[in-house]
Amino acid sequence: MNLNHLTLKNALDLVAKKQVTVEEINHDVDKEIAKVNDKLNIYLTLNPEKNSSDQDKPLKGLPIAVKDNFCTKNLRTTASSTLLDNFIPQFDATVVTKLKNAGGHIVGKTNMDAWAHGSSTETSQYGRTLNPRNTDHLPGGSSGGSAAAVASDTCLAALGTETAGSIRQPAAWCGVVGLKPTYGRVSRFGIVSMASSTDSPGPITKTVEDSAILFNLIAGADPRDGTTSTDQVPDLTKSLNKSIKGLKIGVIYLDLPGLEKIKAIYEQELKIFETLGAKVEFAKAMDPKDAISVYTIVQRGEVSSNLGRYTGIRYGFDRSHFGAEAKRRIMLGTYTLSKGYADQYYTLAQKVRTLFIQDYQRLFSQYDVLVAPTSPGFAKKIGATKGEAMFGELEDMLVEASSLSGFPGLNVPCFRDEKTNLYLGLNVMAPMWREDLVVQVGDAFEKNTKWNSWRQEQ
C-alpha cells in the first residue's frame, strides 16, 4: 500500500512500532504530489526542507499541509493572492510554531480562495484547485487546497481556517473531516486576518480521530492573541469511542427550501443515531438567510479594515494586485462602515448576531448537539461561481450562523454518490467550548457508517 494513504493515527502507530519510517511516508507523499499537483493545483509552495522529523515529538515528523494564509517563517506565504507573490514571512504563526514544536513536518502551503474570500477556491489568483473525488468539480473553499490535500492523500492531515464555513464546507465537498473549533480556542496570531471576530483555525483530516489529535496540539491560549480563552483545553481523544446513548440531538435546517433533493438522504443517514441510542428530533432555528446578511456586513466590514495593511510599502505589492472578489469585498466593507451607514448596517448586523446567539442558546438548552447538512448540495461543477456576487454566502448559509456565534462544528462525510463520487457532509454542532461533544458524536457516526473512505481500507 502506498504509505500516503495512511491516516495520521495509523501512521503514528506504525512508526512507533517501527514498521515504517517517517522518511518512507514522506517519500510516498512527495511522489503523489509530483503525480497530481500540476493537475489538481493543491500546493502553491512546497517546503524545500524535507524530513524535519523528530521521533520523540508527538507528530514524529509526519507530513502536514498548511493553508497558505498561515505565516510560515522563510516559506513563501501568499494567501493565494499575487499581491503577496514574493512575501517570505520572518516569523511563524503561533499555530505553525505549535505544529513544529509537536514535530509536524510542513509539506507545503495549500491553495485557497484569495484572502479566504470565497467558497470554491476559484477566486485564487493562482488558479482553481480541482476536487480530487471528481476533477470536473470544485473542492469548496476557502480551505479548498487543504481539503483536497487530505482527499488526495498528498498529506496525512492539514490545517485550514474558517470564517464562515471555510473548513467545514470544503471538507464536505471533498468527503473529509473538518473541525471548526470554538472561536477563541485556537490562536489567530500570524494568520492573515479575514473577519477577526469569527476566524477560527482548525484541522482538516481523514478521520475524526486525526482531527482530535491535531486539535490537542494546536489549541490553547496565546498571550499574543487577546481573543483566545484561557479555559482548559479538553483532550479530544478522550471523546472517541464514547457511547452516545441518551444524548439529545436536534436536527435543524433540513426543511429549508432548496434542500429538497438531499433531504431524504439525510433523513436516512440520521437514523444511525437512534440505533446508537441517541434521541433525535427535528427542531426549528432562526432563518439562516438572515445569517447571510449579518455575515456579509460583519465580514466585509472587518475584512475591508484588515486588508488596509496591504499597501506594498513594507511587503508585497501595491493594492492594484487585489483580485476582483477582494476589491468587491473591500469596497462593500468600506461602504458599510462609512459615515452614516455604520449604524444602519454594521451595528444592526451585530444586533441580529445577538439574536442568532440567543436562538442557538435556546436550542442548546434543549439539545446536547445540533446537526444539519453542511452544504445545500454536492460539490458544484467548475465555473459555477461565475457572475454571482453572493455565491459564497449562499453556499455557506447553513454554517454561517454557527460561525457568527462562535461555537464549534465538525463535518463528517455522510453520503457518497456512486455515479459522481461526490460527497455530502453532516455538520455536528455543540455549545461554546464543547468540542468534546462534536467529536463524540462525529466519531460515533464515522465508525458506525461506511462513508469514511479510509476506514474502508482498514
Binding site: 514571512p89 471576530s197 488596509g308 510599502i313
Partner: protein
C-alpha cells in the same frame, strides 16, 4: 482682545495635546518603547507594530492605568466600561491602514484644569497608538520619504479641552500645567522638541461673548509653547481681518511656520474625515470596578496645585517659586524635608528658595539637607549690630549728603536706596536690610 480691528472679538480656543507615555514597551506589543534614543531606524518592531499579516494587538495594562491616573488628576469622570476602536485612513506611517484609538467611549471625560484666567474644561482623555516617523530626503536626485517604525505603536494619550481658552496666555498656562502634571505623575517626559508632546489648537473668534462661532480653524504641528502663543496671536489677527469684511474664515487645517511666526494653509483633506470607526474586534472591552478606580485615586500623589497651596500655607513659599520647584514627586519630597528642617533651625524657607531661584545660593543636591541649610545660614549670617552704632552711621551719612536729603524730602523717594547703600558701605557688615531701611526712613522724615 485683538489689535487691528474696530470690533472686539472673543477668542474661542480649544487645545488637543498628545503626550507619549514612557512605558517600557509599546501600547499593543512588547517592543521596546524608546524611539528617541534608538541608534538605528526600524530596530524596535515586530509583526504587530509593523502591520504584518496576522499581527494582533494586546493592550499594555500600565498605559491604561496611567491614563486613568491622569484623568483622576485632571478631575475627570472615569468610564467604567470602555473599548478601543479602529480609526481608518491611509498614510505610509500608519502600517495597518488604521490607528487603534478610542471613539465614543474614551477612558476619561469631563475634567478641568484651573488657570489664572479661569477654568479650562477637559472634554475627554483617550489612549491610542502613535504612528511611525517620516523623514523627507533626496536619494539619487529623487525626492523621497523615509519611514522609521520605531515610534509606531508607542502609547499616546490625547487630552482634548472644551473651547474655553480665551487668550494665548491662558493657552500657554494650560499647556504648562498639563505638562507639569504629566511629568509629576511620572508618566511622560513631554520633550516637545522630540515630539514627546504635541500641540494642536482649534481657533475661532466669536463676535459676541459666550456664543460659539460657526467655523473653526485647526492649527497643527506646533512644538513649543512659544510657537503656540505666536500661532494663536497670528490667527486671531488673520481671522479678525476676514471677519471685519463680514466674511467667514475657511474651516481648514493650517500648519505653523516658526521662522515667520505665521500659520499657513495645508491641503484640505476632506475625505480623510471619514474614519469609519468601529470597535476593534481583536481587543476585548475594558470593565473597571468602582473599587479599582477608588484605589487608583487613593494612590495618586499630592498634585502640584495642592502642593503649591500647602507650601504656601505651611511655609509661606510664594506660588511663583513653588511652581518652579515642583518637577517630580521625588524632588518635592526632598524640598518638603528641607523646609521642615529649615523651620526647625529657624531659617525662613521662602528666603532660601528665593535665593536658590535667583541664583544667589547654589545648592549641591548630593549633600544632606542639614549641610545645605548650614551653608545657607553661614552665607547669609547677619552680623550683630548695636542699635546705637547703626544710628550713628545713619546720622553721619545724612549729614554728609545734604543735597540728597533735600531731594528725597522733596519727593525723590528712589534716593532711599542711595542712603541704604551708603550706610551699608560705612558699616562694612552684613545687616538685615529691612531694619536699616526702616531706621533711615524714620531719620529722613
Amino acid at each position: 482682545m485683538t489689535k487691528n480691528t474696530n470690533t472686539s472679538y472673543t477668542l474661542v480656543c480649544g487645545l488637543e495635546i498628545h503626550a507619549e507615555l514612557k512605558t517600557q514597551s509599546k501600547m499593543f506589543c512588547s517592543c521596546k518603547n524608546d524611539p528617541f534614543h534608538a541608534q538605528q531606524p526600524n530596530i524596535y518592531t515586530c509583526p504587530v507594530c509593523l502591520g504584518m499579516p496576522g499581527g494582533l494587538p494586546v493592550a499594555n495594562k500600565k498605559a491604561i492605568d496611567w491614563t486613568i491616573k491622569l484623568g483622576l488628576a485632571l478631575n475627570c469622570q472615569i468610564n467604567l466600561f470602555s473599548k478601543f476602536d479602529r480609526k481608518h485612513y491611509f498614510y505610509p506611517d500608519l502600517p495597518k491602514g488604521y490607528q487603534i484609538s478610542q471613539y465614543d467611549i474614551p477612558f476619561c471625560e469631563n475634567g478641568y484644569i484651573e488657570t489664572s484666567e479661569g477654568r479650562v474644561g477637559i472634554r475627554r482623555i483617550h489612549l491610542e497608538e502613535d504612528t511611525g516617523k517620516l523623514l523627507h530626503k533626496e536619494i539619487d536626485g529623487k525626492k523621497v520619504s523615509l519611514i522609521d517604525f520605531n515610534r509606531g505603536g508607542v502609547p499616546l494619550v490625547e487630552v482634548v479641552t472644551e473651547p474655553d481658552i480665551k487668550s494665548a496666555n491662558q493657552a500657554k498656562e494650560y499647556g504648562k500645567k498639563l505638562r507639569q502634571i504629566l511629568r509629576y505623575l511620572d508618566i511622560a517626559d513631554c520633550d516637545m522638541e522630540q515630539g514627546g508632546m504635541r500641540l494642536e489648537a482649534n481657533i475661532s473668534l466669536a463676535d459676541q461673548p459666550d456664543t460659539l462661532p460657526n467655523y473653526k480653524v485647526e492649527v497643527k504641528n506646533i512644538n513649543s509653547f512659544r510657537y503656540m502663543e505666536q500661532a494663536i496671536n497670528f490667527e486671531v489677527d488673520r481671522q479678525a481681518e476676514i471677519l471685519d469684511k463680514h466674511e467667514t474664515p475657511i474651516q481648514e487645517t493650517r500648519g505653523f511656520n516658526p521662522n515667520t511666526a505665521k500659520t499657513f494653509s495645508q491641503r484640505i483633506k476632506e475625505d480623510a474625515q471619514d474614519y469609519r470607526y468601529f470597535p476593534d474586534p481583536d481587543l476585548a472591552p475594558i470593565h473597571f470596578t468602582q473599587a479599582q478606580i477608588d484605589t487608583l485615586q487613593a494612590n495618586l500623589p499630592e498634585l502640584p496645585e495642592e502642593l503649591i497651596k500647602r507650601w504656601h500655607d505651611q511655609f509661606q513659599i510664594e506660588t511663583k517659586y513653588a511652581d518652579q520647584l515642583i518637577i517630580s514627586q521625588d524632588k518635592s519630597k526632598w524640598w518638603q524635608e528641607l523646609f521642615e528642617l529649615a523651620v526647625k533651625l529657624e531659617v525662613k524657607p521662602n528666603d532660601l528658595v528665593k535665593a536658590v531661584i535667583n541664583k544667589k545660593f547654589v545648592v549641591d543636591y548630593q549633600q544632606p539637607i542639614a549641610t545645605i541649610i548650614a551653608n545657607y545660614q553661614k552665607e547669609n549670617q547677619t552680623d550683630s549690630l548695636d542699635e546705637s552704632e547703626l544710628s550713628d552711621v545713619i546720622t553721619q551719612v545724612i549729614n554728609q549728603n545734604p543735597n540728597e536729603v533735600s531731594a528725597y524730602q522733596a519727593g525723590k523717594i528712589a534716593l532711599l536706596n542711595f542712603f541704604i547703600g551708603q550706610v551699608m558701605r560705612k558699616l562694612g557688615k552684613k545687616v538685615e536690610m529691612t531694619r536699616v531701611k526702616t531706621l533711615i526712613e524714620k531719620a529722613l522724615s
